[in-house]
């Protein structure tokens, strides 16, 4: 599979996430669009990892670990995303408790 196909697909997913962040007002939907963008980047990292691994494994006789870094990065991105979601949802719950809405436009001034 040419790597360009993966690039275009991931760019489409990422742009859908960007449009979602720009157009929606519900804080939870905005959060989900951020998850969508993170996943697009994850898939692109794995595709690049396999691209480099395929290029390195083509001529090598011993099995190489070229490209493992990309997949480890994806693992760490998932870890950070899990921590981010737990804190972010706690913030959204607190916001809902205080102003009884999850509309981000009510947050344009953080004071009061």
């Amino acid at each position: 599979m040419p790597v360009n196909y993966y690039i275009y697909f991931c760019l489409a997913l990422f742009s859908i996430g960007v449009v979602g962040v720009l157009t929606r007002r519900n804080a939870i939907i905005i959060f989900m669009c951020i998850e969508l963008m993170l996943n697009a980047v994850n898939l692109l990292l794995v595709a690049f990892s396999k691209m480099h691994h395929g290029a390195a494994a083509a001529g090598a006789t011993v099995p190489s670990t070229v490209g493992a870094d990309g997949q480890i990065f994806v693992f760490f991105i998932m870890v950070v995303a899990a921590a981010e979601v737990s804190v972010g949802l706690a913030i959204i719950v607190m916001m809902y408790r205080n102003i009884h809405s999850v509309d981000v436009n009510f947050l344009n001034r953080l004071k009061n």
Binding site: G20, N42, K50, V87
Partner: protein, 170 residues
């Protein structure tokens, strides 16, 4: 067309359609369910790339844990579709135009990049994505970041509890 290409187009189309439905559905619960469809499609892509560890972790962590957290929060708040007032149509249009320009710019940039021409991705073979190989790399080269993530998780846990606790002073 080989079976790999058919699966690629099928999973990509499913993922893009589900991602669009995440944006377009009025009910936040439906958005969460469509996002789970996106995660399943991306896990299918991981399996096609023979990244088996990430496919399983993606399903367990994202579709399992994070989405359940989202669903739990949405149901806790009892949000329905009428809770969200519509944004102004011009603001929506501006957002879509900005995202479209972003997409067009990046696609033109990627299609012209000399590093990406005639490069292929290794499908369904290569053992780099197996747990054995990734574990060796994770516990030799990346052992310090791996240990630091435990501190990150601890601080995130404490932060979530502190933020979610009812303020007793009020």
């Amino acid at each position: 067309m080989s079976i790999i290409q058919i699966l690629f187009y099928l999973l990509s189309g499913l993922a893009v359609f589900a991602a669009l439905m995440v944006l377009l559905s009025k009910n936040p619960v439906h958005s969460v369910l469509w996002l789970i469809v996106v995660f399943f499609a991306i896990s299918g892509h991981y399996i096609m790339l023979n990244a088996q560890f990430l496919a399983i972790v993606n399903l367990i962590v994202y579709a399992g844990a994070i989405m359940v957290l989202f669903l739990f929060v949405i149901m806790l708040m009892n949000l329905n579709s009428s809770a969200e007032p519509g944004k102004h149509i011009w603001m929506k249009l501006a957002g879509v135009v900005a995202g479209g320009c972003f997409l067009i710019m990046l696609v033109s940039l990627a299609s012209q990049a000399p590093e990406m021409t005639n490069k292929t991705v290794q499908m369904k073979e290569g053992n780099i994505g197996l747990i054995k190989e990734l574990g060796k790399v994770l516990f030799s080269d990346f052992v310090l970041p791996f240990e630091l993530t435990s501190a990150l998780f601890l601080s995130a846990m404490v932060g979530a509890v502190v933020l979610g606790k009812k303020d007793s002073t009020q």
